[in-house]
């Protein structure tokens, strides 16, 4: 009696195990099929992407001739064309850069490959730093200097990370964006999220006819070290004044950004939705990147109107505003920053308003 009871229990356990395993396998097959369907279905472009890709005449074909180069130089440079599959990948990549969190998509999770999983907060989008959907140009169509152009970034191909000394392929550099700039987690290197952005960046490089191994002015950030100022030191008070004068109109008096109908119009530069303390945007961590970005890209439409010293002061001020702690700073620091972000701003608002009250 006893051995058969234990044998049947064993059999039941085995059946459960095998059943669970097969169920997981079926889930995996179903999920992969779903991904494949998304890969094959036509892409609904965001307004920005629609305009940009129409301007660059992206279409499937055996050859691709860049209208941008043709118009500016008169040269007809013939490149290898794109398949239907390539075109969809490029379109999805453009959508991801323009609207990472899918706030303008009908099916945010499907159309953006669950990008929200890898981002904390509701504001972050690639387009905030890589402006002009990764291809920022001046009024006459010249690529903007120091605009973190994705095309030039792709042309740089594999680079050595200046902080860790590791060789980083373009995919790994994208993965670092999610941690260093968006306060999030790394997607897997084989994820469509990474592949599509790579496809889009390659396409932009083909459009602008950028070549491997070259250095372009729109590549990365035109960093502003102390040596490019009069060395008066970085001034927090002056930064505050300049911020309120030039930036607060869009980013808000406390840097919390502007959101209308659940869509981010201007991103937060402070508070829970902003980059974290260990981000390379943080002035205390790397003091040349954020000033460089501000000087070349801010305020939109009036780029170049701030002096180097202005940019350093503003960056210094912004970086001292409360923001999330980095993942490796430990729970105490995280708690402290949460307190600073959630409790301090209402207090400040209360006292600021108190002055104007009768």
């Amino acid at each position: 009696m006893k051995p058969s009871a234990s044998a049947s229990r064993k059999l039941l356990r085995l059946a459960l195990l095998v059943g669970a395993l097969l169920a997981l396998y079926l889930v995996a097959v179903a999920k992969q099929d779903e991904r494949q369907r998304i890969r094959e279905r036509p892409v609904t472009l965001t307004p920005g992407c629609e305009e940009k890709l129409a301007r660059y005449q992206l279409a499937a074909g055996d050859i691709y001739v860049s209208p941008y180069i043709l118009e500016r130089t008169g040269r007809r440079i013939v490149k290898q064309g794109y398949s239907e599959e390539d075109v969809r990948a490029i379109q999805r990549g453009c959508n991801i850069i323009d609207d990472l969190q899918g706030q303008r998509a009908a099916d945010p999770a499907g159309e953006r490959w669950n990008a929200t999983r890898f981002v904390r907060g509701t504001h972050t989008s690639c387009n905030h730093c890589h402006q002009g959907i990764g291809d920022k140009q001046t009024a006459d169509g010249t690529p903007q200097i120091g605009s973190l152009s994705l095309a030039a970034s792709w042309a740089m191909a594999d680079m050595y990370d200046r902080f860790t000394g590791l060789l980083l392929p373009y995919e790994l550099r994208q993965m670092q964006c999610y941690i260093n700039s968006s306060n999030g987690y790394k997607p897997n290197i084989a994820d469509d999220l990474i592949r599509d952005v790579t496809a889009y960046s390659r396409f932009l490089a083909a459009v602008l006819d950028l070549r491997f191994g070259n250095r372009y002015p729109e590549q990365g950030i035109d960093e502003i070290p102390v040596s490019s100022t009069l060395k008066r030191g970085d001034d927090y008070v002056r930064g505050n004044a300049l911020y309120q004068q030039r930036c607060a109109h869009c980013h808000g008096p406390q840097g919390f950004g502007t959101v209308v109908d659940g869509k981010v119009i201007y991103p937060a530069v402070a508070g829970p939705n902003a980059f974290n303390l260990q981000s390379r945007n943080n002035f205390a961590f790397v003091s040349t990147i954020l000033p460089g970005f501000i000087c070349r890209n801010m305020p939109p439409g009036e780029e170049g109107s701030l002096s180097n010293q202005d940019c350093r002061d503003i960056a210094f001020y912004i970086s001292n505003l409360p923001r999330p702690a980095g993942d490796r700073q430990g729970p105490l620091m995280a708690l402290w920053q949460q307190l600073m972000m959630r409790v301090m701003p209402p207090l400040i608002r209360f006292f600021d308003n108190g002055d104007s009250r009768p």
């Binding site: 085995l14 095998v18 889930v27 995996a28 999920k31 992969q32 669950n114 999983r117 987690y185 994820d191």
Partner: protein, 522 residues
């Protein structure tokens, strides 16, 4: 003594030892490769040399009959976690740092050997702490294997919190290589099913890997390796008898080496804990008593030597030792033979080993991770609330604070639990007699004093009976001295058997001391 324990008594016994050695070699081979590649992020030869030299050294240095060293799951996982932020995996620098890490761990273990109280401190890690950690590591192994199982590149994620593990699991489902998943599932199914049959339980892993490899060869032949993209174990044809190596110690590497010191401490402690606990268990099962200091000695010496032999660190292996015990080994020859046979296997069948697919390895790691969570081991902890809390604390801390944090957290919990138990002696007031059983020490004094003061207020004459107290610390002695000055209070302390029988009480000063402990006269 060493030769005595090494040599079997009869030829028939030698045959049995040979069989055990062969089984062990076959069991340890996939483990060695899987631990070094998917857990530690090191080339497979380190695991194999670890399974040869680590096993050989510990077998020669440790007098225990039932002992099998070699690469270990938890230690390899700790190495992977420690070294991930330092250098890219599988690179030359990474191997150098790994060897330095092993050497540092070996030196720390030597400190445990030389400083006796440190070695004794290892005994203070209670069973629930260890079981909690083992279960935590088991769960971690399962999650950690998902990317390799699904043929995805391992995300160089420094943290391994459950949240990120969950994301990795989702990624495996959604973007995994379906060929790799098929190989993994076949390996998993074959292994899990065969493990249910007692007769071939020990060979289940081998059959699983064989099935996975056969399927991998089939799809590679059908679709081509370029289309299936299934990763395989590297070529082992260059493996020889010994491969000398030197740990990385250079000026530029110093900041990184300093940053991995906590990892080295974790590694040393993980190894020693497992060795001490495995030896304690085997002592109870086999009836042979071997002091755990012999195990510490063998481990520390081996781990100081292994980084110079391109080997992973060694410590006792629970699964292989229980296998040895089940097969009734009688001498240390079985462990020695397993190392020699493994060397022969690698030398002559290297080409076959090279085609084993990585997803099959990951599936094996999952099985081993699940096997670490043994319901029969953890069930007793749920019958006692404090033990259950310690178990869960230790289990959770593996995932919340990492392995090093778990060692610290678990030990603190175990100590706190022991102190808490001691701080609650049984105190009864029977008439005007206050009986104390347990310990009188700084932790329990507040409870005792509270009842004493209540009783003191109620009775004109109070007897404090501490004859059943087995430990009094200096603070307790001072308190007893203080209350003995009170005329209302009489102390009834421990009496010898002779005194009990004759019921005669001598005056305190004339009492002959039979107790070894020094006690101050009140």
């Amino acid at each position: 003594m060493i030769t005595g324990a090494l040599a079997p008594r009869r030829l028939g016994e030698f045959g049995n030892e040979l069989l055990i050695g062969l089984t062990l070699a076959i069991v340890v081979l996939p483990q060695a490769i899987a631990f070094s590649t998917t857990l530690a992020g090191l080339p497979p030869y380190l695991g194999i040399y670890g399974a040869i030299w680590g096993v050989l050294l510990t077998a020669l240095l440790n007098p225990s009959r039932v002992f099998h060293g070699g690469p270990n799951t938890a230690m390899c996982a700790a190495m992977g976690v420690t070294l991930l932020p330092v250098a890219p995996q599988f690179g030359a620098d990474y191997v150098g740092y790994a060897l330095t890490l092993i050497l540092m761990a070996g030196l720390i273990q030597t400190a445990f050997l030389l400083i006796r109280p440190l070695g004794r401190a290892l005994d203070f890690v209670s069973e629930p702490v260890v079981n909690g950690m083992i279960c935590g590591i088991g769960l971690y192994l399962i999650f950690r294997s998902f990317p390799a199982f699904a043929g995805l590149p391992i995300n160089t994620q420094v943290e391994w919190r459950l949240w990120i593990s969950w994301q990795t699991f989702l990624a495996s489902l959604e973007i995994g290589n379906i060929h790799a998943i098929n190989i993994g599932v076949i390996t998993l199914l074959v292994t899990v099913v065969l493990r249910q049959f007692a007769a071939i339980r020990n060979l289940a892993i081998l059959f699983g890997i064989a099935a996975g490899t056969l399927y991998s060869e089939f799809i590679n032949a059908r679709y081509g390796l370029a289309n299936t993209l299934v990763e395989q174990i590297a070529d082992l044809s260059s493996m020889g008898f010994v491969y000398p190596s030197v740990p990385l110690f250079s000026q530029e590497a110093m900041p990184d080496i300093i940053s991995i010191i906590p990892g080295a401490i974790t590694l040393a402690l993980l190894g020693l804990f497992q060795t001490v606990i495995a030896m304690r268990r085997m002592n109870r099962k086999s009836g042979q008593f071997v002091d755990s200091r012999h195990g510490i000695f063998a481990d520390s010496v081996s781990n100081c030597l292994l980084p110079f032999l391109s080997s992973l660190p060694t410590c006792a292996s629970f699964n292989r030792m229980s296998l040895m015990h089940d097969m009734k080994t009688r001498s240390r020859l079985a462990a020695v033979l397993s190392a020699v046979i493994l060397l022969a296997l690698v030398s002559f069948f290297g080409d076959l080993i090279a085609i084993i697919p990585i997803p099959a390895m990951a599936a094996i790691i999952m099985v081993l991770g699940a096997a670490m969570i043994q319901w029969s081991d953890i069930r007793p902890h749920f019958q006692h609330r404090a033990e259950a809390i310690v178990f869960f604390g230790s289990f959770a801390s593996v995932h919340l604070f990492g392995l090093f944090g778990a060692v610290i957290c678990g030990s603190l919990l175990a100590l706190a639990y022991a102190k808490w138990e001691k701080a609650h002696p049984s105190i009864h007031l029977e008439g005007n007699v206050l009986r104390v059983r347990g310990n009188i020490y700084y932790g329990s004094l507040p409870l005792i004093e509270s009842l004493y003061h209540q009783a003191h207020a109620r009775f004109d004459e109070l007897v404090v009976d501490f004859s059943a107290v087995h430990h009094i610390d200096p603070e307790g002695i001072r308190w007893l001295a203080e209350i003995s000055k009170n005329d209302k209070v009489h102390l009834a302390d421990r009496r010898s058997g002779h005194e009990r029988r004759t019921e005669q009480r001598e005056p305190h000063s004339q009492q002959t001391r039979t107790d070894r402990r020094r006690r101050r006269d009140f």
